[in-house]
Symmetry: C2
Subunit: 482 residues, 2 copies
C-alpha cells in the first residue's frame, strides 16, 4: 500500500536537517526554529560541518556521523548535493528526503533535467521517497513539522497538496485568518518522485483530513489514474482544485516554475468537474470554498434571507445575490403577521433584505426579526451583513457592531439553518491599525473565528462559494439515490 | 444658473444645527462634533430648547431666536417637524435645509408621501433648497462639513453624489484606505428637491472635482436630461456610476429605501455606457475605478509586464490577466540580451512574469530586471505583485517586502510607464493586528498611499479596472479625433 507508505512524511521518529544554520536569513535556520517551536517530539539532528550545536541542539558534521537511524531528511543545501545526501541518507535507513532547493528540471536547461534523472535513479535504488525538489515540504501541526513562522499550531480538518511553495504559504496565511485549520499541507514542487497521485491517495484515506485542497500546475502521474482518484476522493469528502497554467502564458510560466506541462485548459475544468471536485481560479476562491465546506452544513436551495445592512447596502446585496443566481424572496406574509402581533410598527415596511437602519425606535430588535426569518422554511440559508460603518461616535460604533455580531452568534447557536456573514475586508494603513474602527472589526473577526462562523469578504465571493457548495451536495445526494 | 446655486451647500457662512445635543448617541451630538473637528469656520448655531450651550458653543432655543441670518440648516429632528423648521428657516433667510430623518416617502405609506409633498411645496414657496429627507448630507473637507467621524480631512479631487447614506459612508472609508481624497461627497437620499440632475450639473463645472462617482437607486429628474448631463460630464472628466436596484428584488428594496422606482436594468447599463460613463456593480468596483482614474495616466494598450511574485503566484497572475483579456508577452529577446550582457545567470530562464523567487544569488536584482521591463515599448503598463508572504523570519520578511516596495516607488518615479501594484487584502483578527506581518503590510500600504501609487486587492479587480480605464481613454481619443 503506497498510501500507508507516506505516513513517515508526517510522523517521522527522527529528522535530520542538512544545512542547519544559525544565520537567520537561511532556510537552515528557519527549519530548525520550526521543528523546535511547533513542538516536534522525535529525535532531531542538525547537520553542519562547522558548528557543534545549533539552536541548542547537538549538531553533526554529516548524516553519516549521526549515531542512530534517521527517518526523514530535510535537505536545505544546493540541489547539486542531493545525490550525495541521498547516498548518505540511505546508509542511515532514511525513508524520505525533502529537497527544498530548485534550479533543477524547471530551469529548462539540460543539466537540470540530467540531475533530476540521477536523483530519481538513486532514490529508486535506495528505496527512498523524495519530496521535491523545489518545494517547501511538510506542514503538519499535530507532529510539529512546519515551513512557515506563523502558521496556526492547532491541527484542523483541511488537507492540502500544493505544487507551489509560495502558494502553500499564502494559502495557509489567508485561510487561517478565516478560521481554517489544517491536518497536513504538502508543498511538493517538481514532483520528481512523490506526486499528486501519491498525495491524493494518502489524503483520501487520511482520517484527519475531511476536506482536500489542491493547487496543481501539471500532472506527473497518469491522467486517468489521477481523475479516478479525484473522483474517489470527491465521493468521500469535498475536493477543491486550483489549476495553475490555465492559459498559454500561464502554462509557459508553469513550465519554468515547476517544470510542468499544463495540458488543455477546457479539458481540465470539465474533467475536474465531472469527477465531482470544485474547480477554482485563485487562492481566494479556494479559501472561500474551504470556509464554506468547513463551517456550513449541506445547503439545499437558493432562497436567501438577508439581514443586517442599512438601506443602500441591502439594495446592492439583493442585486448581487440575484445576479449570481439566488432568489431573495419577499418577507413572507406570516412573518409580517408575527411582527405585527409582536408590536412592530414596521411590519408593513420591513422586507427581505431587512434594513437594519430603520429599526431604531421599534419595540422589536433586528435579532427579533432575524429569529423570525431563521425559523421560516422558505429560506434555505441566511446571509447576514456585518453592518456597514455606522455613522456613530466611538462607543456607539463599538456597541452596535458588537451587539449585531453577538446576536448572529446566538441565533446561529439556536438554529440549524445555514448561516453566513458578509464581512468586507479592508486593509488598513499603519495609522488605522490602531484606530477603534479597525480594532473593533478585528476583535469581531476573531470572535467569529472562535465561534466557527463562516464569513466572506463580499456577496459576490460568498455567492460563488454557495453555488458550488449547493452543487456539491446535490450531486452527492443524486449519487446516493442512484 | 442652478449650478452656482448649489455652492451654498458647500460654502455656507453660517450653519444652524436643529437638534444639536450633548448625548453622544445622537446625530445632534455627531454633527456638532463634525463641524468643530473638521474646522468649519463660519458662524455656528446649535438649536436646542433646553441647553444654553452645546460642545462649548452658545445654543439657541429655536431658529428664530438666532440673532443673525442663517445660510444652511441641518435638520436632525423628526421628519414631521420639517415643515415647521422650513418656515422658521425661511424667516432667517436660509438658502438650504438638509433633512436627515427618513420615515417619509420611502415607507410607502400615504402619510409619508403627503408629508413630502408638503415639504416640497413650502420649500418652493420660500425659495429654499432641500437636501433629503433620509440622507446624511454634505462632506466637504475644505470647508469643514462632514457626516462621519473619521473621514480624511485633506481635500482631494474626487466628487461623489451618493443616494444612500450608508453607501456614502462606506465609500469614503473604503476609498480613503486606498489613497482617495474627496472634494465633496453628497448623500442625497429621497431627493425630494435637490436631485441627481442638480448635483451632476454642479460637479461638471466644479473645478475642484476631477472624477465623479455616483450611486443612484432611481432617477428623480428627467431621464433624457440626466443622460445628456452624464454624457457632458464624461466628456470632461471620468464618471463612474453604480446603479442600485438592478434586479427586480433590488429595485423593490430601493423603493422602500429611498422611494426610488428603478427602471429597466439593461437599458440603464447600455445608456450609461453610451454616455461614456463607467457602470460598476458594487462599491469595491467603484473604489477600484476611482483609484485607477486618480493615480494612473491614460493607458494605451493591453500588454502587461508582471514582476514581483514567486513562481506559483506568477503562474496564477499570468492566467488571470490573460483570462481577463490582457496579453502577457514573453520577455523580449533584446531584454534577455541586456540581462546577459549585464551578467545575469538567469537571462534564459527569467520570463514575463519575472519570478522573484529565483533571483537570489544572481548579480542582478529584481529592480534591475524591472527597469528593463519598464523601459521596453512592448509593455503598455506594469503590474507588480506585493510579494507573497516570504517564508523568512521577522527581519528578513520586513527587509524583503520593504525593499520590493521601495524599488517599485523608485522605478515609478523614474519612468512614465503606468504602474500598479497588486496588494491583497487580508483582514486580520485582533491578535494579528499586532503581528509584524500585518503591521509591515500596513506600513507599506501607508507608504503607497503617501506616494500616490495605485494598488488593487487582486488581479481580477485590477484587470476589471484597467479594462474600463483603457476603454474610457480610447473613447475619449476617438471623440477628439472625429
Amino acid at each position: 500500500m503506497l498510501s500507508k507508505s507516506l505516513e513517515f512524511l508526517f510522523n517521522p521518529e527522527s529528522v535530520a536537517v542538512v544545512g542547519a544554520s544559525e544565520n537567520p536569513t537561511t532556510y537552515g535556520y528557519s527549519f530548525m526554529q520550526h521543528l523546535l517551536s511547533y513542538g516536534f517530539r522525535g529525535r532531531l539532528y542538525p547537520i553542519n560541518p562547522r558548528l557543534p550545536e545549533i539552536a541548542g541542539v547537538k549538531a553533526y558534521p554529516s548524516l553519516e556521523a549521526v549515531p542512530s537511524a534517521i527517518d526523514y531528511v530535510i535537505h536545505l543545501i544546493g540541489v547539486n548535493n542531493a545525490p550525495d545526501v541521498l547516498t548518505q541518507a540511505a546508509r542511515k535507513g532514511a525513508k524520505a528526503v525533502h529537497i527544498l532547493a530548485g534550479r533543477a528540471g524547471e530551469t529548462g536547461r539540460p543539466e537540470g533535467k540530467k540531475l533530476e534523472a540521477e536523483i530519481l535513479k538513486l532514490a529508486r535504488e535506495y528505496g527512498i521517497r523524495v519530496l521535491g525538489p523545489n518545494c517547501l515540504g511538510v506542514f503538519c501541526p499535530k507532529t510539529g513539522l512546519s515551513f512557515g513562522f506563523d502558521f496556526p499550531k492547532e491541527p484542523g480538518k483541511v488537507g492540502a497538496l500544493i505544487q507551489s511553495g509560495g502558494n502553500s504559504t499564502d494559502l495557509i496565511h489567508i485561510a487561517s485568518l478565516r478560521g481554517i485549520r489544517f491536518s497536513k499541507v504538502v508543498s511538493y514542487g517538481n514532483a520528481l518522485d512523490i506526486n499528486e497521485i501519491d498525495l491524493f491517495r494518502y489524503f483520501i484515506d487520511d482520517p484527519e483530513t475531511e476536506i482536500i485542497l489542491s493547487y496543481i500546475e501539471g500532472l506527473r502521474g497518469d491522467s486517468r489514474e489521477y481523475l479516478k482518484l479525484v473522483s474517489e476522493a470527491a465521493a468521500k469528502k469535498p475536493v477543491v482544485i486550483l489549476k495553475g497554467g490555465r492559459t498559454a502564458v500561464g502554462s509557459r510560466i508553469a513550465l519554468s516554475h515547476t517544470g510542468s506541462l499544463a495540458g488543455s485548459v477546457n479539458l481540465w475544468e470539465t474533467a475536474i468537474r465531472q469527477a465531482g471536485a470544485v474547480p477554482v481560479k485563485n487562492l481566494d476562491q479556494m479559501v472561500n470554498m474551504a470556509v464554506a465546506f468547513s463551517f456550513l452544513p449541506p445547503v439545499k436551495g437558493k432562497n436567501v434571507g438577508i439581514v443586517g445592512a442599512g438601506g443602500g447596502r441591502s439594495v446592492l446585496s439583493a442585486d448581487e445575490w440575484e445576479e449570481n443566481g439566488f432568489t431573495v424572496p419577499p418577507l413572507p406574509r406570516d412573518i409580517r403577521e408575527n411582527l405585527k402581533r409582536r408590536g412592530s410598527q414596521l411590519w408593513d415596511w420591513l422586507d427581505n433584505p431587512a434594513d437594519i437602519s430603520i429599526m431604531p425606535g421599534d419595540p422589536l430588535t433586528m435579532t427579533d426579526v432575524l429569529s423570525e426569518i431563521v425559523a421560516h422554511p422558505v429560506f434555505d440559508f441566511i446571509a447576514a451583513d456585518a453592518e456597514e460603518d455606522p455613522p456613530f461616535s466611538k462607543d456607539a460604533f463599538i456597541q452596535h457592531l458588537t451587539e449585531d455580531m453577538e446576536g448572529y452568534i446566538k441565533i446561529r447557536q439556536q438554529s440549524a439553518k445555514p448561516f453566513l456573514i458578509i464581512f468586507d475586508e479592508r486593509s488598513p494603513g499603519i495609522k488605522e491599525m490602531d484606530s477603534y474602527i479597525h480594532r473593533t472589526r478585528a476583535e469581531l473577526r476573531s470572535l467569529l473565528v472562535r465561534e466557527g462562523l463562516p464569513f466572506f469578504p463580499s456577496v459576490t465571493e460568498a455567492a460563488a462559494a454557495m453555488n458550488e457548495l449547493i452543487t456539491y451536495y446535490r450531486r452527492r445526494e443524486e449519487k446516493t439515490l442512484r
